[in-house]
Symmetry: D2
Subunit: 185 residues, 4 copies
């Protein structure tokens, strides 16, 4: 591994949701962190980025991966106050911790977004166990690529996918086909 | 890693497509192999499994992962002869090597499918660099999970996702939103 | 046609977007009206109802069908003020007229939503040329069913679909297949 | 209605599936006919055209619309014999009548496809109650447009969509949101 991966700057958050207390990267050292920067009125975030973050949270939280949402409002500030974000989180049933990126007095782009040099929303940042940025991507990241990176970072952890038949879709009856597959008799 | 992963049995194939010469697991030792068992008239294969195999082939062939299709006909044998498979491969523009699982004189299930104890189609089998079966799944396998396993197996290979900003969607213009995201000014 | 279709009550709207002046059903008499009731934080509205309304607007406005959005906030009122709706309309690039259903001092459900006895969002109401409610549906309405109703109401208008070959997808080259179809040589 | 709509030529079919006896347009006069021309190895047919035909069949058969599939093989003839079509119909659970377009001794394009001057597959032909071609489209036809045409042709039939509240999604509980919508308390 190259030693040139940049260190992730601290999160600068003004308010947390789904978190009993503020999260810090320092306290999470040793964990893989998936940081999802979004805006609640960004169509690509709502249709793709936010559901992907929720899926990663549901799938990998037991394996020690921490998903953190970051509401990085850089436009329409008056339309997306924290009270609106709270309703959004409720309606979309999001269960991972979400922080409000601290607004900047000097410019539209909030503080954490500046520190990470994010270009817009959605952005996905993956931070490894020693606090280095391993991916910082703007736009849509596909599940196959994201899974691969997480697998590489998890490689020291207990192996995923044991060497026995795993009936991922046990509803396919023998001798029939359905939308998922065909079972032999 | 447990030492109990079973060794992958040899492929028993009567005819190859998209392959200059027959493939054997022995000759591929040292490579990660994604074996996709399908039937051309299995709806779940056509809608999900086959496109996923093609996507893995396109994305990971440069990283040394070998995708192999296995046409495991266990029903409607007369409807899916090799000449029909050839047309299917052509129309769906599949470019990874595909073998015809050798039919059994004694039973409907062909030889390789028997040896791997596959329950139906689609099935996905992942074989690691030393020839062990790391996943054998019947039905739909999601990209996030498959990617994670591949990432774990690739972990010794050069890291995916360098530590710099990767503009995965460089078409999002600054100061606008499109279906993929919103770029800040 | 039964004479028992109820007459559509007037719209009670506090503010309009995408409209040079307030719309009234009386002024639109003679036109088919598709009224789409939604909330900007309702997931089913964002993923299905709003895009369907936009599609009907783009496709049928030249044939005299008028699509009207109605923002019927009945929960999280403080999270969806008109300034937020304005940003939503901008980000989702909606071009049909949208009215804010007038809030009620007495209850959470706004006035027009009460008058139409809508059960939630999304709701789709189709009003015929003489002001009668021909459909009032809560939840997802599929395009095939909605198209059929609009076709029945349009039946007196110039026919859609002339009796000649319409190359809806002229990009399919002869002698090839693509995702849309196969052209013969 | 213009009098210039061409009359639909007879179907020239060598074998029928899902039909107790051969269908003829003459015997179906008075009915609206949706003729879906496809090939079982045409990707756009499998992913879009065939499911649309099945959906129209399921939805409109009670209203007198007759959906007819026409297997118009013009390439890979040896890969798509009737025995393969039979398996395809079984695996995809198609329940509408499907005829095999009679192969031509002189050219690759079969007889009915020639008579209708179809350009490829999928093609959709809509024939009205008096046997005239009202739509002949090559490629993808969207549900909204197809529904509109069917609605126009059905306009004399009993009205679809009664003037009362139709709970299309009665599973949305009051006071909650799900993927389909939000019910008010």
């Amino acid at each position: 591994m190259p030693s040139t991966y940049p260190l992730a700057p601290p999160l600068n958050v003004s308010q947390w949701f789904n978190a009993p207390e503020p999260l810090t990267l320092d306290a999470l050292r040793g964990r893989i962190i998936v940081l999802h920067a979004f805006q609640m009125l960004c169509p690509g975030c709502v249709s793709h980025g936010v559901p992907q973050a929720q899926a990663v949270h549901e799938r990998f939280s037991e394996q020690g991966i921490v998903v953190i949402g970051l509401h990085t409002v850089f436009e329409h500030h008056e339309a997306m106050p924290p009270v609106a974000l709270a309703a959004f989180i409720h309606e979309y049933r999001l269960s991972f911790p979400i922080g409000v990126d601290r607004p900047s007095a000097a410019q539209a782009v909030p503080h954490t977004m500046q520190a990470y040099q994010l270009r817009g929303t959605p952005s996905l940042v993956v931070i490894d166990q020693v606090g280095r940025i391993r991916l910082s991507a703007f736009g849509r990241v596909d599940d196959l690529g994201l899974g691969t990176l997480l697998g590489q970072l998890l490689a020291d952890a207990p192996a995923f996918g044991a060497g026995r038949d795993q009936p991922l879709n046990s509803d396919i009856r023998q001798g029939t086909c359905d939308d998922h597959g065909c079972g032999h008799p």
